[in-house]
């Protein structure tokens, strides 16, 4: 397998193109600028379109429009830019328009810092816009996962006709590491995938021969809206099977770390070092944070597990609420947190685990 040395942002963009993405619109913001930069160069090579919009709202709206034709379409931004796009994302969810977007997130609310953090967990998993919609949210912890998850995200988006989010952070956007890129889908396959969306997409139907398509982000009838909410709820329930996680050394673990994304990879190396020292520590690393891999926590032996250590680059902790729902009071839950752009240190995680292990 050929390894390519690639930046996280660029791997996301290349994987999207390989998955069949042929439209991207975005607006500059650190630390995700390499995504639009890469698309600007790459999309014309495959007959796709790149637009730098005049704003975040304009670019998500263009993606909303492009995806309505069945074209695989994407946007990206960072934290406060994602907030600006939330109106359009809610429209996509309401109108059942499949898009993929990436949040290369930064530290803190408002403008925050431009450094890496995981402060957008609630926004990503609970309320990415108004109206109570949900999305599948992938949380890569390596450039390889960023590429693989982006590639798969377009399939999930079109399967469900719903937005899918890649939730990453400034480290993963800026880091360069080896990646084995997923295969390039040939043009014929990309066209076939687009044609497969014909029944609902706005591609010009002859009303004499087939039903016309109609897409709008709301309903005039209360009954229709309630039914739509029920259909959405059924879709969200169906995602239980799609939850993904990495469970590492949990069989004899007395302390189990829960961490995702950048924190997850740093925690993994902490687990590796602690194990060499004989500390019985394991890890559950959600790869999808929505749906949250609750069942992985049922596999723990709570007679042995003394505590869960929730590790996040967010203050206050956010994922810890999902961990609590999954653990169901079967053991104590502690936290190990950094934020504001401070990347959590492996040594800090090791110290927290040792403290719990001795307690």
């Amino acid at each position: 397998m050929k390894r390519t040395f690639m930046k996280g942002c660029e791997a996301i963009a290349e994987a999207a193109v390989r998955s069949g993405c042929r439209f991207f619109a975005g607006y500059p913001i650190t630390p995700q600028n390499e995504i639009p930069e890469y698309f600007a160069r790459r999309l014309p090579e495959v007959g796709g379109q790149f637009v730098q919009g005049e704003s975040e709202v304009a670019s998500i709206s263009m993606v909303y429009g492009a995806a309505q034709t069945g074209t695989r379409a994407m946007t990206s931004s960072s934290s406060c830019g994602i907030s600006l796009k939330s109106e359009g994302i809610s429209y996509c969810a309401s109108a059942h328009v499949p898009i993929v977007y990436a949040n290369i997130s930064r530290g803190g609310p408002g403008v925050g810092t431009i450094q890496p953090a995981q402060q957008d967990y609630f926004q990503a998993t609970k309320a990415s816009g108004n109206g109570g919609f949900r999305m599948m949210v992938f949380a890569p912890s390596t450039v390889q996962e960023a590429a693989d998850m982006t590639y798969a995200a377009f399939d999930y988006a079109q399967r469900d006709r719903n937005p899918v989010l890649i939730l990453a952070d400034g480290v993963l956007g800026a880091i360069i590491e080896p990646v084995v890129l997923p295969p390039m889908r040939p043009d014929e396959e990309v066209s076939a995938m687009k044609k497969a969306q014909r029944s609902w997409a706005l591609v010009g139907h002859d009303p004499a021969k087939e039903p016309r398509s109609f897409i709008e982000p709301g309903h005039w009838s209360i009954q229709e809206q309630e039914q739509s909410c029920k259909d959405n709820a059924a879709l969200y329930d169906s995602w239980e099977k799609d939850a993904q996680e990495e469970s590492l050394m949990i069989d004899d673990a007395e302390i189990v770390i829960a961490a995702y994304g950048i924190s997850g990879r740093i925690a993994r190396s902490a687990v590796s070092l602690l194990r060499k020292d004989g500390v019985k520590v394991g890890m559950i690393r959600p790869k999808t944070v929505s749906p949250f891999p609750e069942k992985a926590f049922d596999k723990l032996n709570y007679k042995r597990v003394k505590a869960i250590l929730d590790v996040e680059m967010s203050i206050p902790a956010q994922m810890v609420y999902d961990v609590r729902l999954a653990v169901k009071d079967r053991c104590p839950i502690e936290t190990c947190l950094r934020s504001g752009g401070e990347v959590i240190r492996r040594e800090e995680i090791i110290a927290s685990v040792r403290a719990l292990s001795k307690a």
Binding site: R3, T4, F5, T30, P31, I114, Q115, T142, G170, V171, A174, I175, I176, E177, P178, R265, I266, A267, R268, S269, A270, S272, V343, I344, R345, R346, E347
Partner: protein, 183 residues
């Protein structure tokens, strides 16, 4: 085995390129895990710039570390700022054309190379990073000279006129690194 490396200097000295070339060569020519992580923010020519490279047999956890095994210092301010990060027994590489301050530690190996002077002598100040990369490889031997040079020429040798210059720059660095190792 995990090796943490930091390269620091002025923006414009090719600090990022040096880190990228080293890590790219590891990706190209070994099966080891490797990460490159740049400082980012308001970086500009003349400001400070630094990057981290981690090379490891296991998957790399944090791409940046509080302590490093090798520290490459291209300018004075970086020496003061980052010397404390170098582990006892670590290796300090210094561009001593510019960095004149005495090193306040005696628990590390010090390799001095006047890379700015040599780059000017070669007629192009931009190659100081390739010279320093030669020094680094010559001293540490973490990659073979041939494999490192293949990546340098692959990445920087798109103009034929620059091929020889980069080859010479790398060779000059190697000499210094090997000589320092031999002492």
């Amino acid at each position: 085995m995990e090796r943490n490396i930091m390269v620091a200097g002025f923006g414009g000295q090719g600090v990022m390129v040096m880190g990228k070339l080293l890590s790219n060569a590891v990706c190209d020519s070994t099966t080891q895990n490797v990460t490159f992580f740049p400082s980012y923010g308001a970086e500009q020519r003349g400001g400070t710039a630094n990057c981290y490279v981690v090379i490891s047999d296991e998957p790399v956890g944090s791409p940046m570390s509080d302590t490093v095994d090798d520290l490459v210092i291209m300018n004075g301010p970086s020496l003061n700022k980052f010397l404390g990060k170098l582990k006892p027994g670590g290796i300090l590489f210094i561009n001593n054309t510019i960095v004149k301050d005495a090193v306040s530690r005696d628990d590390v190996a010090i390799v001095k190379a006047p890379v700015t002077d040599i780059s000017l002598e070669l007629g192009n100040p931009k190659v100081l990073n390739v010279i320093m990369l030669g020094v680094y490889i010559g001293y540490t031997g973490i990659l073979s000279e041939e494999l490192m040079l293949a990546t340098i020429l692959g990445q920087l040798g798109k103009k034929a006129s620059l091929l020889e210059l980069n080859k010479t720059a790398f060779a000059r660095g190697l000499e210094i690194g090997k000589a320092a190792k031999g002492k």
